[in-house]
Every structure is written in structure tokens, then in C-alpha cells.
Amino acid sequence: MSDALPTIWFILIAVLWLGYLFLEGFDLGVGTLLKGFAKNEQERRLLINTIGPVWDGNEVWLLTAGGATFAAFPLWYASLFSALYLPLTLALVALILRAIAIEYRGKGHTDRWRAGWTWCMSAGSAVAAFCVGAMLALTTTGMPLNERGDNVGGPFAWVNAYAIIGGLGVLGFCILHGLLFLTLKTDGDVRHRAARIAGSWGPLLLLPLVAWAVIIVVRSGHWWGWALLLIAAGAAAYSWIAIRGGREKAAFLAESGFLVAGVAAIFSSVYPVVMPSTLDPQFSLTVGGASSSAYTLTVMLIVAIVFVPLVILYQSWSYRVFAQRLSVEHIPAAHAIPKAVRSAAHS
């Protein structure tokens, strides 16, 4: 049992990242679409309100994935986060701006205020998605780690083709995920436009993620990697056909299936390595070498077994409470602070 614990935790970490990409994926996608997709203020507010009640709970999956990596694989957490110092700084700035934009954008009443926060939310979402993707890609393709697990490639060692493919992969996935989410959550013009764009650009948006998965699977050469990859490709194709045929729910589910199979293909192919060293395979961090003690893993496993299902339960409930489709007609007039109060208070 205790030999299996690091492996169980590796799977759990993969599940947490999967949960993050599945849920926050459409938040980041919808956020990105605020620029370029939304045509006017009403549509921008519609987009924000589709994720309004749920985005914060979705983001906690990131904190849980980070915290669980720290708890279960401290050496992985330490090497990965310190090696990617600059891109993670960028990701933090992006995530901060995105979060503040959601809450503050609607609380001001000038066009400049709204336009500024729209930029913060759109760019923040896109940059956050890209950086998370780059980080996940680099933990599968490796960094120049020395025998202590420290990056010796300098501050820009992370700038390589894999980081860009992974970054674009997650960004592209998030945009498609956001579009498909909008076909389920909205009504009217936004819904149809989202379906149309997903129908024409879907394959292109998924291409970099597929490329990343193919690179990993080719490198490892495991048969199950190929099998999962095949399933992922099938799901993606089915999703594309479904959205072109107007079956929105099927398209969203199939595309989510693509995510599950794709992430499974990547993580199962790199196993048992959690972060390769590009200098010497001996320095690579592995599931066994980077993990916490059996006691810590057991404690955290019990906590996870109790609380992960509970979280999924109440988080699903929150989605049910806000299940209705929204359309621009539902968006109340801008929640302005009455001028009279302000002028009276100033006088």
C-alpha cells in the first residue's frame, strides 16, 4: 500500500489539474472572449455574468492543485515553481488582474473604467491560461535541473518551443471550452455566434494541445499513450461534428472527454517522471523520489477521500442553482450609485 501511495497521489494531482482545466478553462475562455467576441457592453456583461457566481470556486482548483503538489511532492513543487519564476510571476499578475476585474468592473460608471477592466480581464485570462499551459508542458518535457533539482539554465530557460506549444495548447483549449460553455449558458445571438465560431475554428484551437500530447506520447512510446490519444482525437472529432450539427451539449461533453483523455495520455506517458532534467536523466524528479513520507501521503489521502467528493457535491449544486441560460435581456441596467446620494454626500 505505502509503495502505491506516491502513484495514487500522482493520479490525484492529475485529477486536480484536470478539474482546474475543466472548470476554470471556460472561465478563462469566456474572460478572453470579452475582447474580440463580445460586440457591445451588454454582451460583455452577459459573458461576465455567465461565470459570475462560479468562477471563484473554480479557481480554488488551482490553489488545491498547487497546495496538494506541495504536500505530496514537495521536491516537485520546489523545483517546478522556482524554475519557472518569471512566467509564474506573470501568471500571478494576470490572475490578480482578472479576479479584480470581475468584481470591480461593474462598480464604476465611466466608459474608461469599464474599458480598462475589460482589458485586464481579457488579457489577464489569456495570459493566465498561457502561463499555466507553459508550466504544465515544461513539467512534462523538462528543464535543465542539476542534481539538487535546481534550474541551472538561467531565468529564461523556460523559453522554448514546448512552453509555447503547451501555452497555446491550454489557451486554445480554454477559448474553445469557453465558446462551448457559452452555447450552453446563453441564449440568442451570443449562443449562435459561439456555436458558429466553435464549428469553424474548433480543430485549430485544439491543435497545439494535440501537438503537445503527441510529442509526449511519441517520446515515451507507451501503447496506452497512443490508445488514450486515439480516444482524445475521436472525442475531439465527435465534438466538432456535434457542434456543427447544433448539438451543443454533446459537443461540450465530447470536448471535455477530449480533455480527460488528452491529459491522461500526457500524464500517464511521463509517469513515473514528474519533471525530467534535460541535463541528465539521473537528475529527473520521479514520483517516488519527489514525494512526501508515507505518513503525510496517507493523511492527505484521507483528507482527499473525504473532502474531494464533498466539494464536487456542493460545487455541482451551485451550478444547478445557476443553471438557467442568460441572454442580454436578463442583464439588469447598470447598477449605478445614485448620483443624488453622492452629490448630497459631497455637499
Partner: protein
């Protein structure tokens, strides 16, 4: 440039900033939940208005705590990878539990609360707020348990030079953590209370200044109304008066709890980290006298330059040991003890970076510990005294017509914030040169300690750290301006800023009749 120093500045700035939002979230959240509970029980409009208004300010602040909280979790790995490797088997667990048990509860249910007005039935809607507030309070416990482990490591064994967790209950039940938890939460309630008191005072004063409320010959309030100003009806007066009195009482109770828990914590700290407490007193020599004022060049950290001016004999022994005679060790006799136990120089090891082999200075920065300790206590006392005065001043139903006092009430909001920050700066700086402090007492485990100088990321250059330090500091500074701007705007607008329906002239029902009311609130 020393990357450790830059990293410490970054951790200090981001953490103190984060901990401006957090105590307000914890304290005000509790108060809002209580207000809504009273509303549910009574159905009285006063409490609904109070809930909506304070709830709006709560949310404006909450999001800043959430956003800056992500940095907190990430920067352990980013800037302090050696620390993360050393403590990983212990420290990651409470962080993961915090996310899984507390953050989800807080975030999911707060989303339900924000968008749930009119959608969830009243009981359920109150329930989701309590769930969110309890989530915040649980999160505070886990992060304090993690921090307390750095102050007082327990529940581990040293294997291969690193602490391995052997007893999670010892970590979660750490006496340092229990004391610090209640101390911190009392401090958080003090913050929320002063916030409520100050703003409510301002509105009562505003109503008097605008000639809406007057006082009779006996000084009792004569409540009026101003129909042309949205929200300025008679009920409005009750909203502010009740808020003020709740805030004042909460501040007084919070202070009593802060003092009590602080005393417990201090007594533990004298045993667990004697150097920190000696340094808090700028006590160079062993003795029993508490320093009311010590002058000289504290920043030199040299005992020769430190001159106690006013001292109360016996008080230090009382604070540390509960009697008036037992001597408390001073800095000078402690230094050789530390040197003997933990060595004269940093280990000559790659992990210690540029500090490898250097002399260790076991004495924390006296100017910071001495004044941090006194600012914490001073501003705490100040806000409790102000709350007591506020209760007395409003006994006849309103506040004096003094613009000065109104300004003071608003500025007074900062007092418990300063006390909180000073307390944390004191306790974190007082632990130096250790990031994980060794414990000389019996419950301490031999060999569990880590120098701050050996904790930073070897692969991250001082330049990278400086880049993120500057980036985050600038970003936080700008965001602070926006948060204050919004808070001030909503405060000035009064209850009507959170309840547009009170603005009868301009308010239009937002949802046309041919659509279902699927959004009672929208960003």
C-alpha cells in the same frame, strides 16, 4: 545584491498587504452574517439594509484578499524552494487542507450568496453566507497552524536531515497555533468592528451636518428625513446607530479577547522563542522590569547603545511567567546559548547561498521587534478606548456635530490594521535569523530548524526577485488605490449605493415582465 534580502522584502510586502484584506474579510464577514441572521429572525428592514450595505463593502474587500492570496501559496515554491524542500513533508499538508476544506467552502458559497438574493429561499441564503464565513475562519486556522509550526515545530522526526511528519494532530493542535489562532481572529474582529464603527459614525455625523437629524434640549436625537436624498429616511438613522453600537461592542469584546490570548501567546513565546521576547523588550540584560520607554540607537542592534528610560519593575516577569520576581533572560546572556547550540557560522553548504560560512547574528532587529510589539499593543488599546468613548458619546442616539471627531472616527479605522500588521511584522522578524525556529523547551525537537539565509531558491537570481518585487509592489499599490476609491464611493453613497431601489426617483425595475427573473444581481 542579496537574493535572500530581496525575497524577504517581497514576502514581507505581499504578506502584510494580503493581511490588510484578510482580517477585514474575517471580521466584517462575521458581522455581516450576524446582521443577516437578525434580519431573518426579525424581518426588520433595518437589518436588511445593514446586511446589504456592509455586505457590499465586504465583497469589494474580499476579492482583493482572494487575488493576493494566490501569490502567498505560489511564492513558497518560487522564491523559497530550499524552504519548501526542507518543510515540505509537514508544511504542505495544512496548505492543501486549507484549499480543499476551507477555500472551496468560502468561494463556492460566497458566489451563491452574491447571486442568491431572491433566488434561494431566505433560510438557505443565510446558510450559504454562514458557510462562506465559516470557510474563511477555517482557512485562517490552517494557515496559522502552518505558520505556528515555523514558530514551534512539533509532530515530526528528523530523518536524513529533514523533518518528517509523524503526528498531524500535534501540528494541528500545536499550543502555539491555538493561541495564535484566537489571537489573530480576535484581532480580525477588532478590524471589522472599527471599520463598521468609523463608517457608521461618519453617516450619523453626515445626517446631522445635512440638518436631517437634530438634538433636543436634553441632547437626545430628533430623527428626521430628507426625501430628496436617496436612502436618507428615518430607518436610515437606525441602520447607522445600530451599526455603530454593534461595531463598538464588538471592538471592546475583541480587545478583551486579544489581550487575553496575547497574554497566553506571550507566555508560550517566552519559553519557545526567548530571544524574540527579549528583543521585543530591547532587554539586553536579564531582569524582571518591563520597558515603557527605551531610547538610544535600537537600530544599531548593539546593547551598548540601548538605554532604558522608564521601566516598571516586576511587570515583565508577570507578562512572561505570571509572577513579579522571576527573572527573564535578556539578549546578551542568550546569544552565547544560541551560539553553543546552533553554531557560530552558517553551514558551509551550497544551500546557504552567499551566506555560507558567514557569522550568524542571532539577535533580531531590535528596533523592529521593540517598536512592533509596542505599536501592536498601543494601537489595540487606542481602538478599544475609542470604541468605549463611541458607546458613551452615542448614548442619546446620535454623534456630536464635530467634523473633527468624524474624521477621527474614519481615520480610527486604520488603528487595528496597524496593530495587526505590527504584530505580524514583530512575530516574523523576531524569529530571525531562523525561518523555522528551533525550540529550547522540552517539547522542542532537536535538529529541527532552518536559517532564513539557507531557505531561498538557489536557482532564482536577485535580479529576478527584484523584478517580481517591483512588479508586485507596483501592482498592489495601484490596486490599493482602486479598492479605496470604490470603498469611499460606496461609503459616500450610503445604503442606497448597495440598494438602488432606495433611490425612488431614478430606480427602474430591471427585469421586464416577459422574462423570468434569472438575475437578481449582475456584475
Amino acid at each position: 545584491m542579496d537574493p535572500v534580502l530581496v525575497g524577504r522584502w517581497q514576502f514581507g510586502i505581499t504578506t502584510v498587504y494580503h493581511f490588510w484584506m484578510v482580517p477585514l474579510t474575517l471580521g466584517l464577514g462575521l458581522l455581516v452574517a450576524i446582521l443577516q441572521t437578525v434580519y431573518n429572525r426579525t424581518g426588520n428592514d433595518v437589518w436588511l439594509r445593514a446586511t446589504k450595505f456592509w455586505g457590499k463593502l465586504y465583497l469589494i474587500n474580499f476579492i482583493m484578499g482572494v487575488a493576493t492570496g494566490i501569490v502567498q501559496e505560489f511564492q513558497f515554491g518560487m522564491a523559497w524552494s530550499e524552504y519548501s524542500r526542507y518543510v515540505g513533508d509537514v508544511f504542505g499538508a495544512p496548505l492543501a487542507m486549507e484549499a480543499l476544506i476551507a477555500f472551496f467552502l468560502e468561494s463556492v458559497f460566497l458566489g451563491l450568496w452574491i447571486f442568491g438574493w431572491g433566488r434561494l429561499n431566505r433560510k438557505l441564503h443565510l446558510g450559504v453566507l454562514w458557510a462562506a464565513v465559516i470557510g474563511s475562519w477555517i482557512s485562517a486556522f490552517f494557515i496559522i497552524a502552518a505558520n505556528s509550526w515555523m514558530q514551534h515545530p512539533v509532530g515530526v522526526e528528523v530523518i536524513d536531515g529533514r523533518p518528517k511528519l509523524v503526528d498531524i494532530w500535534a501540528v494541528l493542535g500545536n499550543n502555539t497555533a491555538i493561541a495564535a489562532y484566537f489571537h489573530t481572529l480576535s484581532g480580525a474582529v477588532a478590524v471589522g468592528a472599527a471599520f463598521m464603527l468609523g463608517i457608521a459614525w461618519y453617516h450619523l455625523w453626515r445626517r446631522r451636518k445635512d440638518g436631517i437629524d437634530t438634538v433636543d434640549d436634553l441632547g437626545r436625537v430628533v430623527v428626521g428625513e430628507a426625501p430628496e436624498i436617496p436612502g436618507r429616511d428615518r430607518t436610515d438613522h437606525t441602520v447607522w446607530l445600530r451599526s455603530l453600537r454593534i461595531g463598538a461592542w464588538a471592538a471592546i469584546f475583541a480587545f478583551a479577547a486579544v489581550a487575553l490570548t496575547g497574554d497566553i501567546q506571550a507566555k508560550l513565546m517566552y519559553v519557545q522563542q526567548p530571544m524574540k521576547m527579549a528583543s521585543a523588550e530591547a532587554a539586553c540584560h536579564t531582569g524582571n522590569q518591563f520597558s515603557v520607554l527605551t531610547v538610544g540607537d535600537l537600530s544599531s542592534n548593539n546593547c551598548k547603545d540601548v538605554h532604558p528610560v522608564i521601566e516598571i519593575p516586576g511587570l515583565l516577569s508577570f507578562l512572561a511567567k505570571g509572577n513579579f520576581t522571576e527573572d527573564v533572560p535578556g539578549v546578551q546572556p542568550l546569544v552565547p546559548q544560541y551560539q553553543e547550540k546552533y553554531g557560530q557560522t552558517y553551514p558551509d553548504d551550497e544551500a546557504a547561498g552567499i551566506h555560507a560560512g558567514q557569522q550568524i547574528n542571532y539577535q533580531p532587529l531590535m528596533i523592529v521587534t521593540y517598536w512592533g510589539f509596542r505599536l501592536m499593543i498601543g494601537f489595540g488599546v487606542l481602538s478599544a478606548a475609542a470604541a468605549a468613548y463611541a458607546l458613551w458619546a452615542t448614548r442619546k442616539g446620535t454623534v456630536p456635530r464635530s467634523a473633527f471627531l468624524s474624521k477621527l472616527a474614519l481615520w480610527g479605522i486604520t488603528a487595528p490594521f496597524i496593530a495587526n500588521s505590527a504584530g505580524w511584522v514583530f512575530t516574523e522578524m523576531g524569529r530571525q535569523p531562523f525561518v523555522v525556529a528551533p525550540n529550547p523547551d522540552a517539547s522542542g525537537i532537536d535538529g529541527v530548524y532552518l536559517y532564513t539565509a539557507a531557505a531561498s531558491s538557489p536557482s532564482v537570481s536577485a535580479g529576478e526577485m527584484l523584478f517580481s518585487l517591483i512588479t508586485l509592489t507596483l501592482l498592489y499599490g495601484v490596486l490599493m488605490v482602486f479598492e479605496l476609491l470604490l470603498l469611499i464611493r460606496f461609503v459616500r453613497g450610503g445604503v442606497a449605493s448597495a440598494m438602488p431601489e432606495l433611490d425612488h426617483q431614478n430606480y427602474k425595475p430591471t427585469v421586464s415582465s416577459d422574462h423570468d427573473d434569472v438575475l437578481s444581481f449582475a456584475y
